[in-house]
């Protein structure tokens, strides 16, 4: 009996993961892609995407839901890269330069985002989403109108022919895959970007360490109950802002890693789908609005991207149209987000009811209290 419910419970908790697992498992053979190709693609994409997905973990811990406002960090990273290309700083130093330029911008945007979200408690996610749209407008204004006119640009190659504004596509040849190639190991014909992996592992270690700090503990407390945390003296608003700032910085670094791997950057579109991909990945990996772990990130990145690799081919094989495959994977990704959000909200509502039902039957004291001989202060 207990076993049955625990199986059902496991299924209910992981339904999104299971759906994706079944889906990709079915689509992979149909696609006709070789195992070697798929493995290479997945390994590349882990390096490319997981850093971005990691940026979502801290806000979830702090009870702020999935930080759709992470696209602000992505924008900061892009601005950093624009300058790195403009100053023509090549290779890894170029990436470091981009990060240095992006950092203050990310901190500022993160602070802004945190303050805005603090004014929209209870609806952080939708607010973060809209804030991303809003900032997209500001980003366009800065990059398309101010760069080259107000903000001096050195390279004519990246500005539009009218003299100001950055071109639609930015060629990142100067820093292209410089991090990946720094320590590229070839194993059984498969390329492994070890340097990128090392940075990701470093980030994992940071997150594990961070959870053990006082700040991490405070975030966990706030994530569960803001009122109690506030009553015990934890600065709730400030801690929430810090969580968002860190998330924004991580998203900035993540976007730079992502783009150096891609090798070019759609100046005005690169960040538009960033939030969607990251959120979809972490949810597909089994995270929820209130709980996200490191394995969630890796499982999610692998599953989501496996689907993105195989679906168009599977669609082409099955329906004679790759387009259908593409629509399928979009529909499933959006559907996965919707499903994960619905399940979470539903469980939250049911949880309250179950709590009450438990009280009603008077099962208050399952484990009776035992008194022991109290120990005097001085004997301790």
């Amino acid at each position: 009996m207990i076993k049955k419910t625990s199986i059902r419970r496991f299924f209910a908790d992981n339904v999104v993961v299971i759906i994706f697992l079944v889906l990709t498992a079915a689509a992979t053979p149909v696609s006709g892609l070789s195992a070697g190709y798929i493995v290479q693609e997945i390994l590349t994409r882990i390096g490319r995407n997981s850093f971005l997905v990691f940026s979502l973990i801290l806000p979830v811990m702090a009870g702020m839901g999935l930080n759709f406002g992470m696209v602000l960090g992505a924008m900061a990273g892009e601005i950093g890269l624009i300058f790195a290309v403009d100053w023509n700083i090549i290779g890894v130093p170029g990436l470091i330069f981009a990060n240095l330029v992006g950092l203050p911008i990310a901190i500022f945007l993160g602070w802004l985002c945190g303050e805005v979200l603090n004014r929209a408690r209870g609806r952080e996610m939708v607010t973060g989403f809209i804030l991303g749209f809003f900032m997209d407008g500001i980003y366009q204004f800065v990059v398309l109108y101010l760069m080259g006119s107000v903000i001096p640009m050195r390279s004519a190659a990246i500005t539009l022919s009218r003299g100001y504004g950055i071109r639609n596509t930015l060629n990142l040849d100067s820093v292209r895959q410089s991090l990946d190639d720094l320590l590229m190991v070839k194993l059984f014909g498969i390329n492994l970007p070890i340097a990128t992996y090392l940075i990701i592992i470093l980030l994992c270690v940071f997150i594990i360490w961070f959870r053990k700090t006082k700040l991490g503990q405070d975030m966990r407390a706030i994530g569960q109950d803001q009122i109690v945390s506030n009553a015990s003296g934890i600065p709730v608003a400030r801690t929430r802002v810090i969580a968002i700032i860190i998330s924004t910085i991580l998203a900035m670094v993540g976007q730079i890693i992502f783009l150096q791997n891609m090798g070019n950057m759609a100046t005005y579109n690169a960040h538009r789908q960033t939030g969607f991909f990251a959120v979809a990945a972490i949810l597909v990996g089994g995270a929820s609005v209130t709980k996200a772990t490191i394995p969630n990130v890796f499982i999610g990145v692998v599953l989501l991207h496996l689907m993105y690799i195989v679906m168009p081919r599977a669609g082409a094989q099955l329906f004679g149209s790759a387009q259908i495959g593409e629509y399928f994977r979009d529909a499933f990704s959006y559907g996965a987000i919707a499903l994960a959000l619905v399940l979470h909200a539903w469980r939250k509502m049911r949880g309250v009811e179950i709590d009450r039902a438990g009280l009603r039957q008077g099962v208050a004291s399952a484990a009776p209290l035992e008194a022991i001989e109290p120990i005097k202060e001085d004997t301790l």
Binding site: G137, Q323, I337, V342
Partner: protein, 347 residues
Amino acid sequence: MQKLKEFVTDFGLPRIIIFFFLIGLFVAAPFVGVRIDTSISDVLNRFGQNAILVLALVPMVQSGCGLNFGLPVGIIAGLLGGTLAMQLGLSGWLGFAGALAISMPFAILMGWLYGQLLNRVKGDEMTIAMYVGFSMVTFFSILWLLLPYSNPTMVWGYAGQGLRTTITLDNYWGQILNNFLSVRIGESFFIPTGMILFVLLCALIVYLFFRSKTGTAMTAVGSNPDFARAGGVSVDKMRTISVIVSTMLGAIGILVYQQSYGFIQLYQGPLYMAFPAVAALLIGGASVNKASMVNVLVGTLLFQGILTMTPSVINSVLKTDMSEVLRIVLSNGMILYALTRKTKVSK
């Protein structure tokens, strides 16, 4: 002075700024060589196109479901109606009426399902509605490719199947409402009387609906669900009805939009359609939990006014196309403002 201050805080500074900005644009227009009459015609046309989509948000706001970012659910129902009517070869008034009639059962069914879903996720409606909308749009993208439509004006010529991204309504019901009783003065002044009348009719019906017993109950549910429940009203039922009405209006809204635009846009077309509608409603003075017909009409007029006037006026002043940036910042800024504004907690 005190009164003015109260009015400003109540109505919201952003809205006042937008209002005066629009006035400024109209005043400036003639000086930079933009014709006022063309501008007014454009504004009226776009007002008519969009107003019902904005109107579709009202029931859910009133019943406490928040801003309906899931408007694409209704839009999909409208698209089904439109494409099926074309497939059946209905054209002219019959075509438009047929499209409306066919879309309604879809809207009711989808609205009911959507409503059931939203009732189970109270408090998180907005984010979920957004993703339900996105999922619907992408899911139907697959169906547009797979459903056995065969009308040659609709399907891809080379493949013989799968609907086109944009389907022209030229020989069906394009502009049919716009041209009804329309007034044309000179070259560049045109009033799409039929469409405006249709919009006003819809607004009137919704207005009357909110004066019925059900409408009153719905408003009470949005205002204070506990009060409504204590008054013997089923909160879930009222919310479901509001979602159904909203979805039906969304379907009507897209059909009116498309007859004026002249094309049916499929696939990813409706993906972001909810956002400008939400922005318009908020600019009109609505909040996350209160909206009226005045908000709809004024908001649509203001928002579409700005969208029409900025490209022409600003661009001729600055000699560059800033309208896109302005549109993004303005519409999303407005939504942000509404979301972060302290909802007057009257408890």
